[in-house]
């Protein structure tokens, strides 16, 4: 009996030891070294980690190149993490909550994108930055980088958004940049008869549809009412009741009916844009100005320029341009890493380094167009100098669902689903959630 009892106790002991050992092992894995820092973000004054979006995954990413230059110049070690754009926002959120986020992170300003900085700053995950960073914020863009006067992100450069125009193909076909909507619709008909299109769009990719709508809204909405987003936040206006937004979406419907887009546009992907632009079968496309520089670099002989989208008849030209990327520091990083990160941001703010990054990314200097302005932006230089531009609207929208409602709604208009009014009502609903 005694032996039996001992055997039974031993079994119970083994039984208890297995989960206990497992739990201890897991605790050891998860606990880390308390002395090494408050969380997984380690570093000292001569090293830090840096995460950014890297669509191609290559080493020629402008953030990577800049980090390499800084590391070489300062001797600071930078561990970079280039992530795919579609999962970047989610990864950063997860890492920030898990306590293993990088020390420096690239974000989108405002709150309207999945990788936006302000919701993270509100939740206390982002370190407050100093006056040097605040001084770089373009006038009128403060609400995209600050909460209650405190700055949480440092802008890098300005990216204009209009129509990227293939000047070579346009001159071959004898089509000039249309002065207004009527001229544009006429040009669309002429080009369609020749088997070409005025614009190449990626109808199957909602973000491209959203960008198109926003680029058109520059002249229909924001040229007359630059503070339209603030009015919408205050509840004074709505998308459904806005004549400007109605005109914006109606323009898209009219363009579709006039044959402004390539054949099969509703099912086209981003490859349709690159093929159309580079082969000259389409004269223009809605892509950020920085992508025009990249495309032109990749295709010898291709002449691309950023043009403002033709205004409504009798309207004035207007452009979208804003700092679409910003850098922030992890509030939970070690003091040494924070110091190193702040030094990096200060280095980036220096005029020659900011100019270098602008050149690498293909944007416009954060301080406005200067003597280094890329020839790609020559047609919009006057608009930039005169301040005739508004920030990308969705940066100031309250949640990513608003842009998603706009994007999918426009996609539906192109595919023959829904109507202008129902799309606008859907955007209002998304805003109010």
């Amino acid at each position: 009996m005694t032996q039996h009892r001992h055997r039974g106790l031993r079994r119970i002991g083994v039984l208890a030891a297995v989960p206990a050992l497992s739990a201890l092992t897991l605790a050891a894995c998860g606990g880390g070294d308390e002395a090494s820092g408050s969380d997984g973000s380690s570093g000292s004054a001569d090293s830090f980690t840096f995460a950014f979006e890297n669509a191609s995954g290559g080493q020629q990413n402008p953030w990577q190149l800049l980090a390499d230059e800084y590391a070489e110049e300062s001797g600071v070690q930078i561990e970079t993490q280039g992530l795919p754009p579609d999962s970047y926002g989610l990864t950063m959120r997860t890492q920030l909550q898990g306590g293993n986020a990088p020390d420096v992170m690239m974000f989108s300003p405002g709150a309207g994108n999945a990788n936006a900085v302000l919701p993270l700053a509100e939740a206390g995950y982002i370190e407050e930055l100093g006056d040097e960073s605040a001084s770089l914020i373009p006038e009128g863009n403060e609400s995209l980088f600050q909460i209650d006067g405190k700055t949480y992100a440092q802008p890098t450069d300005i990216i204009p958004v209009g129509v990227v125009w293939n000047t070579g193909a346009a001159s071959d076909t004898g089509v000039d940049v249309p002065a207004d909507e009527s001229a544009m619709l006429d040009a669309c008909g002429t080009l369609a008869e020749d088997g070409k299109s005025f614009l190449a769009v990626a109808g199957s990719a909602p973000p491209n549809m959203g960008l198109m709508a926003m680029a058109i809204s520059a002249t229909r909405v924001y040229a007359e009412t630059p503070d339209w987003n603030e009015q919408r936040t205050a509840g004074d206006v709505s998308f459904a009741d806005s004549e400007g937004w109605q005109a914006t979406l109606q323009t898209i419907v009219d363009m579709n009916e006039a044959g402004c887009f390539q054949q099969g546009a509703a099912g086209g992907g981003f490859d349709a844009i690159t093929q159309g632009l580079t082969q000259g079968t389409s004269l223009g496309a809605f892509v950020p100005g920085a992508a025009a520089t990249e495309l032109a670099k990749a295709t010898p002989g291709l002449e691309l320029q950023v043009q403002p989208f033709p205004p409504a008849d009798g309207g004035e030209s207007y452009l979208l341009a804003s700092p679409n990327y910003a850098l922030s520091i992890n509030a939970s990083s070690d003091e040494g890493a924070k110091e190193a990160a702040q030094d990096f941001l200060a280095w980036m703010a220096e005029p020659e380094n900011a100019a270098r990054f602008t050149e690498l990314q293909g944007g416009v200097a954060i301080t406005g167009p200067d003597e280094n302005l890329s020839p790609v932006y020559e047609p919009v230089a006057d608009l930039l100098e005169n301040g005739d531009y508004a920030p990308l609207p969705n940066l100031a929208w309250p949640n990513p669902g608003v842009y998603d409602a706009l994007s999918t709604g426009v996609q539906g208009l192109l595919a023959g689903q829904g109507d202008v009014q129902s799309v606008l009502e859907g955007i209002d609903q998304a805003w109010d959630q």
Partner: protein
């Protein structure tokens, strides 16, 4: 005697410790405490059971908890009761996703089972090339659903081979994946094309158990092909029908890869399913609470339909 009466495989008496004592005479008193041969103790499985409980059930319950909150994936959250579920039922886009999910699930169930059974019947016996054909029809099953979907996306492209073939016959090209009326059917075609081979294999295994003699006897009695199938083959492969239909229904209800790769849920939500909405709401729009509610709803739907389907295919004989 007991031992010699049993079949060679019958080791039950030995295992249960009831074998007579060597040399005859009084049989040994059965020992209740331990069998002579044993293969393990129930608690050996405890670590695995704990892991399953923690990883599957506790994690799922934790996810279900967030269905009643407005958590955005970061920071604090509030309890919102059933608000997320009310929003699902009031949102026409989400009701559309539910309809799409059911359409794809039942369309997939029917298409794969009908074509899988037809292929199995055709390749069961007699055909000389049946082994080669079985391999060919099964090959798509081993491919990645994403890879298959991207190949089909190329086929369905406006400038792709399908429109090219149609042009030979003078038909107008179509935007297959951007047409709200065609896109869902296109997704169904791709799903069914890839999985029919799997169902074929399940039915081939079932058909192997159907006695040829009975079929031959029925044929000699003058039963038609259909009557033989209806009254001999189909009842014999009922377990295969139950397995194939259950697997296909569940796979159809949780379809994700093909939709994301082919249409991304577009155009304008025309091919959105509950699974793609869960992904979009949770990971793209950071509505974790709402996404959890959608996921919980999808789980419940799968549970209900699986139980109903099991009841429908139950062998009542």
């Amino acid at each position: 005697m007991t031992a010699t009466m049993g079949t060679p495989q019958d080791t039950g008496a030995l295992v249960r410790g009831t074998a007579p004592a060597a040399g005859g005479g009084q049989p040994a008193r059965p020992r209740r405490s331990r069998p002579l041969i044993s293969y393990g103790r129930w608690w050996w499985a405890l670590p695995a059971v704990l892991a399953v409980l923690l990883i599957h059930y506790v994690a799922t319950a934790g996810g279900a908890f967030y269905a009643f909150t407005n958590w955005t994936g970061i920071g604090d959250f509030d309890f919102v009761g059933l608000d997320n579920f009310r929003r699902i039922l009031e949102d026409p886009a989400l009701i559309g996703s539910l309809k799409n999910t059911l359409f794809l699930a039942f369309g997939f169930l029917i298409a794969t089972n009908v074509f899988g059974l037809l292929l199995a019947l055709a390749l069961n016996r007699s055909l000389k090339t049946r082994y080669v054909l079985r391999v060919l029809f099964f090959m798509p099953v081993v491919l990645s659903p994403l890879a298959v979907s991207y190949i089909w996306k190329f086929i369905f492209d406006f400038n792709g081979p399908l429109n090219g073939v149609l042009a030979w016959f003078g038909a107008e090209p179509r935007t297959w994946l951007a047409d709200p009326t065609l896109a869902l059917w296109a997704v169904l075609v791709v799903m069914s094309w890839q999985t029919t081979g799997m169902v074929m294999v399940i039915y081939l295994a079932g058909l192997a158990t159907v006695p040829m003699e009975i079929e031959e006897a029925a044929a000699l009695d003058g039963a038609s092909t259909w009557r033989r199938f209806r009254h001999i083959t189909l009842p014999s492969i009922r377990p295969s029908v139950a397995i194939a239909s259950t697997l296909m229904l569940i796979q159809g209800l949780r379809v994700f890869d093909q939709v994301m790769a082919l249409t991304g849920g577009g155009p304008a939500g025309a091919t959105e399913t509950l699974a793609t909405q869960v992904y979009k709401e949770t990971f793209a729009l950071s509505n974790f609470g709402f996404g959890a509610a959608l996921a919980l709803l999808l789980t419940l739907i799968m549970l209900v339909f699986s139980v109903l389907q099991q009841a429908a295919t139950k062998d009542r004989s």
